[in-house]
């Protein structure tokens, strides 16, 4: 009964989405306030019923209702409770329902907080979100119904893929989806402005606020995915340029550009059409990401299932959304532009350069991800490009990006002088050069050119943001605005991440070795002593648990217990690494396999500064939220 209620609620949700898409839009053209007024209740009804539907699916999981095909395929009575709940979005159907739920949540939130927007713009905005919702809910109902029943009810479910039986599954997808789907709001704003066909100065501020929240979620979602991959499936790697990772990076790059472009639009009124285009692009790339992950065209850890009809539906949806919005853009963009002069050397131009660099990065990732797929689809060749391609392009693009990031902070709007800017920023520049040279000399084991470069870029981004925060616009210390604190923090966060990337990439030590009981292995000042392997039994898996004692300069620092698990339901092996985490280094041990003579193959790793990569992401997200808070406060003050 419950699954049927869930299914029926989903259909009702679709009904509300249809009301939301049609009446407010029609009303805004016919000046019918009553029809426009339907938008809020419709947005609420949509959220309520899709939410109810989602709750029914969660209930089916908790209740072990194996008559539901999706539950039978992804759950099991032995599964711990938290994984039963997170298994709801562990595979295709449920993760799409989560996508839909988050979309209706965003829509509902927009309908609550946008009361001060002009009525007609508001109607078009919510209607656009309703249209997106129709597309998605139809997709779920037609191709991926999670409530489909089985005729023969199995006694036991097939259980969740062991890789997904982890806290990472509980938090990574919802965070990421909040970011992905949040781009729909920026997109809907852009479409509404274009439909309205009038210059609406408020839209930049509004869109920026919503984009900031989505961006913060997207940043955290990507970082969580990287952290999860690191300890669960990566054997110590934190980014693989896997197509699915790339799919999340693409909207992030565009959203980053969008936030900065909107900052110009908000402050100076220029770059309107560029911002509109970025907003459309960011959502198009979110949809593309969904298509890539969910259509089965990819060879990837994320793509377990493949069903051509699903791929065709999303591709069609993508083509319709992008086609319509770009047509609208080309027809109406000139009506909403407003150009103002700015000099070749100004805050605007520096922000514009970085926008272009971010787009070049996006194009790089897009090419590396899609080109092999297109060649394969056309039957021309099966190729792949790995990490070397992405690294060799991203690095030279990051250098100018970092330099402009530092100067962009301190540059004046409209016009600035190179010499004077350089003078203003001479202190952070000198500090950064010193940091880049002294840290490799004094702290790191050796001096590498790339290390100096990476540290210089990080230090420059960090110090310039910090310096500008403390120095203030007036040239002496003054209490900085919340806006400035937020943006400085985000830049400092990026600097922290970049530091982590630089040092981890250059100074990590990774060894695959053969260890018998009692053997020791040394990496720098660390000694890893292998004390053998014991068998262990848990509720849903058997484990060979290794015992490794780690000594630093002869003193005990950690006892690591890497495991090799065999999950009982699937008979599937899994590696669970033993990690001693620290702010300045991780020590990582993973068991390979048992060799003939009783020894084990073991991977031992020393990962300096890897935590900084994720720590920086948290700072970036916090920074974005502070800027948002400043926005809300200023908005209230001016209202």
């Amino acid at each position: 009964m419950i699954p049927e209620i869930g299914h029926f609620s989903l259909i009702l949700g679709l009904g509300f989405a249809t009301v939301l898409a049609i009446f407010p839009l029609w009303g805004s053209y016919k000046n019918n306030s009553a029809w426009i007024a339907l938008s809020r209740p419709a947005a609420f009804g949509q959220f309520l019923f899709v939410g109810l539907s989602f709750a029914c699916l969660v209930y089916a999981f908790i209740d072990n209702d194996f008559s539901v095909k999706y539950v039978a395929a992804n759950s099991n009575t032995q599964l711990p409770m938290i994984f039963k709940v997170s298994a709801t979005w562990g595979a295709h159907e449920g993760s799409l329902l989560l996508w839909g739920l988050i979309l209706t949540l965003w829509t509902f939130a927009v309908s609550l907080f946008n009361r001060s927007l002009p009525e007609s713009l508001n109607a078009k905005l919510l209607a656009t979100l309703g249209l997106v919702s129709i597309g998605f809910l139809l997709f779920i109902l037609i191709t991926s119904n999670p409530f489909e029943r089985l005729l023969e009810v199995p006694q036991e479910g097939r259980s969740l893929n062991p890789l997904l039986q982890d806290i990472g599954l509980a938090i990574h997808p919802p965070m990421l989806y909040m970011g992905y789907v949040g781009m729909a709001v920026s997109f809907a704003f852009a479409v509404a402005v274009l439909l309205e066909g009038r210059l609406e100065m408020a839209w930049a501020r509004w869109t920026k606020a919503w984009t900031l929240i989505a961006w913060a979620f997207l940043t955290l979602g990507i970082a969580l995915g990287s952290w999860w991959a690191y300890y669960e499936l990566g054997w110590g790697g934190w980014w693989f340029w896997d197509p699915v990772e790339n799919a999340s990076l693409l909207p992030w790059l565009v959203a980053t550009a969008l936030i900065h472009s909107l900052a110009i639009t908000g402050a100076r009124g220029t770059f309107q059409s560029w911002s509109l285009l970025l907003a459309i692009l960011a959502f198009a790339l979110s949809l593309l990401g969904t298509f890539l992950v969910r259509s089965g065209v990819l060879t990837s850890v994320h793509a377990f299932t493949s069903d051509p009809s699903r791929g065709v539906f999303i591709l069609l949806f993508l083509v319709v959304v992008v086609g319509l919005s770009l047509t609208l853009y080309s027809a109406n963009a000139h009506k909403v532009t407003h150009s103002k002069k700015f000099s070749l050397f100004s805050k605007e131009s520096l922000l514009l350069f970085n926008n272009v660099i971010l787009m070049a990065m996006m194009a790089t990732v897009l090419l590396g991800t899609l080109y092999p797929l297109i060649l394969d689809a056309l039957g021309l060749a099966k190729i792949s490009v790995g990490a070397p391609y992405f690294n060799s392009v991203m690095l030279p693009l990051t250098v100018p990006l970092a330099i402009f990031m530092g100067f962009g902070f301190a540059a004046h709007w409209k016009q600035d002088q190179g010499i004077s800017l350089l003078k203003r920023m001479s202190l952070p520049l000198i500090l950064s050069l010193m940091t880049a040279i002294l840290i490799p000399l004094l702290i790191l084991p050796d001096v590498q050119g790339l290390g100096i470069l990476g540290l210089f870029m990080s230090a420059w981004i960090g110090f310039s943001a910090l310096y500008w925060l403390l120095r203030g616009q007036q040239g002496h210390f003054a209490k900085p605005s919340l806006q400035l604190v937020g943006s400085s923090l985000a830049h400092i966060g990026f600097a922290v991440t970049l530091t982590g990337i630089t040092i981890t990439s250059l100074y990590s030590i990774e060894k695959d070795i053969r260890l018998a009981e009692g053997d020791s292995y040394h990496i720098q000042q660390y000694e890893f002593r292998f004390d053998g392997v014991k068998q262990k039994q848990e509720a849903n898996y058997l484990a060979s648990e290794g015992s490794v004692t780690v000594l630093e300069n002869g003193e005990f620092i950690a006892h690591l217990k890497p495991q090799k698990r065999t999950y009982l339901t699937q008979g599937m092996p899994m590696t669970e690494a033993g990690i001693d985490a620290g702010l300045n280094r991780d020590l990582f041990v993973a068991l390979g396999e048992r060799l003939q003579d009783g020894a084990w193959s073991v991977r031992v790793q020393y990962k300096p500064f890897i935590r900084w990569i994720w720590l920086g992401s948290i700072l970036m997200a916090l920074g974005a939220l502070l800027v948002l808070a400043a926005h809300i406060r200023n908005g209230r003050r001016s209202a």
Partner: protein, 150 residues
């Protein structure tokens, strides 16, 4: 040119230069790092490049996996169900590497025609078959079932 025009001209020139450099870099890096996929039959026919990394895919042949004692070196064979190719690898194999499983290896051929793998990939699902491998098996079986001309 008026000063405003001149400025705008420089701006556009600067952006164009930047974009061209970036495009050049991207295409350069792409062509250098492109890795082709070859099936075991294609490798035996000499279609795979000799001096460049490529991806080789196939099923791990039953009873072909042999570890050298005292090191992490391992030898095995991959096949598309028609032609086996010898592979050697040094290091830890992925969890789902086992005989009969479809896997993909990255590396290049040595002088003896043995594929020296730098990386071995098996996917995180026991029923998963890399599409390239499935495709190569289908092709090999089709080719072998074609009627032989007398």
């Amino acid at each position: 040119m008026s000063p405003v025009r001149k400025k705008r001209f420089y701006m556009v020139l600067l952006l164009l230069t930047g974009v061209s450099i970036a495009t050049f870099l991207i295409i350069q890096a792409f062509s250098q790092n492109m890795m082709f996929f070859f099936s075991t039959t294609e490798v035996k026919q000499g279609k795979a490049p000799a001096d460049r990394d490529f991806r080789l895919g196939g099923l791990v042949v039953n009873h072909s996996v042999q570890r050298e004692s005292g090191s992490l070196k391992v030898h095995f064979e991959l096949t598309d169900s028609q032609t086996p190719v010898k592979v050697e690898y040094s290091g830890i194999l992925p969890d789902l590497f086992r005989e009969g499983q479809g896997i993909i290896a990255k590396g290049r051929l040595n002088d003896q025609g043995v594929f020296v793998a730098k990386e071995v990939l098996a996917k995180h699902d026991e029923n998963y078959m890399p599409p390239e491998v499935a495709d190569s098996i289908n092709k090999a079986q089709l080719a072998s079932s074609e009627p032989v001309q007398p």
